[in-house]
């Protein structure tokens, strides 16, 4: 892996450089972690552009939108508009494909064309934590310093209240949040075609690489597109987190994160 490029993605050719030490602790298996799990009983929140009631995704258990009212204050209201840009459908579809019996709860903070801002993102995350969702998928970030402290506080809160926040790394070499915080599981992309393949990153802040290249995803109006980006890698890890939380409901975010590291495909014992 070239040192002058950010380690936010993991091309296949760089796999050899990311081998983890052979003294890595062992003793857990994927069978123990999520064998037989369907995600049943796990409440997954998708903070994004909304989620459509689409047969490729299945039922959406609840949907709200964060929007600024005429009084200038942000409100969380019930939302019946579904997905406005396709991105939320893509994330929800990936999660459901891996954890078919998990609940999907949509918190819409983006509009058409993926438009949004830091204030909506912060309020959406605050709402998700109030609802104490088990897994929160955040394929979004903000590069505005204005929201750094607030997001840091919220992700710490999630970490301690057992809401597992899975955040995609920015696809550009820029500083952004909250994926860089230690209290979230941060996700970049690998280019392997298997949804259940993930790699641990020996060089955080990205914790894991999930499938993020040429992913067939649900988009708008029944359209399926082939998409690439960390936005689509994060929901793969969210889906796997849902499987783990379903089988081990008391496992805290720190435990799930370590489990994912131990079970990653670039750990020698897992070969």
């Amino acid at each position: 892996m070239s040192e002058d490029l950010p380690a936010w993605s993991l091309p296949a050719e760089a796999l050899a450089d990311s081998r983890l030490a052979p003294d890595w602790p062992a003793g857990v298996t994927r069978e123990w972690a999520f064998g037989g799990s369907t995600g049943a009983g796990v409440r997954v929140c998708v903070i994004d552009s909304g989620v459509d009631a689409d047969p490729r995704i299945g039922a959406v258990q609840s949907a709200v939108v964060v929007e600024r009212g005429e009084d200038g204050v942000l409100h969380v209201e019930p939302d019946d508009r579904g997905d406005l840009c396709g991105h939320g459908n893509a994330c929800a579809g990936i999660i459901r494909a891996l954890a078919p019996e998990c609940e999907i709860h949509s918190v819409r903070v983006l509009g058409a064309g993926f438009s949004g801002n830091g204030a909506l993102l912060v309020e959406g995350l605050r709402h998700a934590l109030r609802e104490r969702y088990d897994v929160v998928n955040l394929s979004l970030s903000t590069a505005s310093e204005e929201w750094r402290a607030g997001l840091h506080e919220l992700t710490d809160k999630g970490f301690f209240q057992r809401s597992l926040i899975v955040a995609s790394a920015h696809n550009m070499p820029v500083e952004s949040f909250p994926w860089q915080f230690a209290s979230v599981i941060s996700v970049g992309s690998h280019d392997q075609p298997d949804a259940m393949t993930w790699y641990a990153n020996p060089e955080p802040p990205v914790d894991l690489f999930g499938r993020g290249v040429d992913v067939e995803v649900a988009w708008l109006a029944g359209e399926t597109i082939t998409a690439t980006g960390n936005s689509f890698a994060a929901p793969h890890i969210s889906g796997i987190c849902a499987l783990i939380r379903s089988k081990h409901p008391t496992l805290a975010p720190a435990g799930v994160k370590h489990l994912l590291m131990l079970l990653a495909d670039n750990v020698e014992e897992n070969d």
Partner: protein
């Protein structure tokens, strides 16, 4: 140095800066196109006043004709990337609704594949960079997006300098009265008698400054 001669010196510096920034942008797209072996590469500037994307630099297809061409900001892939502030890779434009055939027709070139990345200044998108019709290499896309990100950061710096040069030009040419407004405020403040009224005015200006600095960025 008198105010007039200072103004002339600043103006001369600014006038010289714009062609250099434009040349730098042209160089960036030329190198990007060459490295990706693409048919075309271009940089769009987002014009906030008109809400349009403007071709600022083009290499390859359209090089002679497209610079200065304006498109509505919500148009096609460039518009999507501008709004989302995320890069986008489409390997087959015929199978992705985010690509606008109508827009491509206006540019006279229908690409089969493209990569596009935002030019960012923190959360603000200044424009986008596009690479059209590069040879597709299996397993290369992650490295290509990383590389495009580096080009985008370079182009963003050049675009930021270009925008600043143009803004100063407008002010010096008297097309903008923002400097005069600030000067009048400062003059009023300097003339005010010492006391609590001055403190209140300073506090007011400070608050105004904070408001103007704030953004609605993600």
């Amino acid at each position: 140095m008198t105010d007039q001669s200072l103004q002339a010196a600043v103006a001369a510096g600014v006038m010289a800066a714009e062609p250099e920034q434009r040349a730098l942008l042209a160089s960036i797209v030329t190198v990007a196109r060459s490295i990706f072996h693409a048919k075309a590469a271009s940089v769009f500037l987002y014009d906030e006043e008109t809400d349009e994307l403007v071709f600022e630099a083009v290499s390859g297809e359209g090089e002679q004709s497209l610079v200065g061409t304006r498109l509505p900001s919500g148009t096609g892939v460039a518009g999507w990337v501008l709004t989302s502030r995320q890069p986008l890779v489409i390997d087959d434009t015929s199978k992705d609704s985010r690509h606008s055939v109508e827009t491509a027709k206006r540019t006279g070139f229908l690409p089969e594949n493209l990569m596009c990345a935002p030019l960012l200044d923190a959360d603000r998108a200044l424009g986008v960079i596009q690479i059209l019709d590069r040879p597709l290499r299996p397993g290369a896309v992650l490295a290509e997006v990383d590389l495009l990100g580096q080009f985008a950061n370079q182009a963003a710096l050049a675009l930021l300098q270009l925008q600043r040069a143009r803004r100063v030009q407008r002010v010096l040419a008297g097309e903008s009265d923002e400097v005069q407004v600030v000067a009048r405020l400062a003059e009023s403040l300097a003339r005010a008698a010492p006391g609590s009224a001055v403190e209140q005015r300073v506090a007011l200006l400070d608050a105004l400054s904070n408001v103007l600095r704030g953004d609605d960025a993600r």
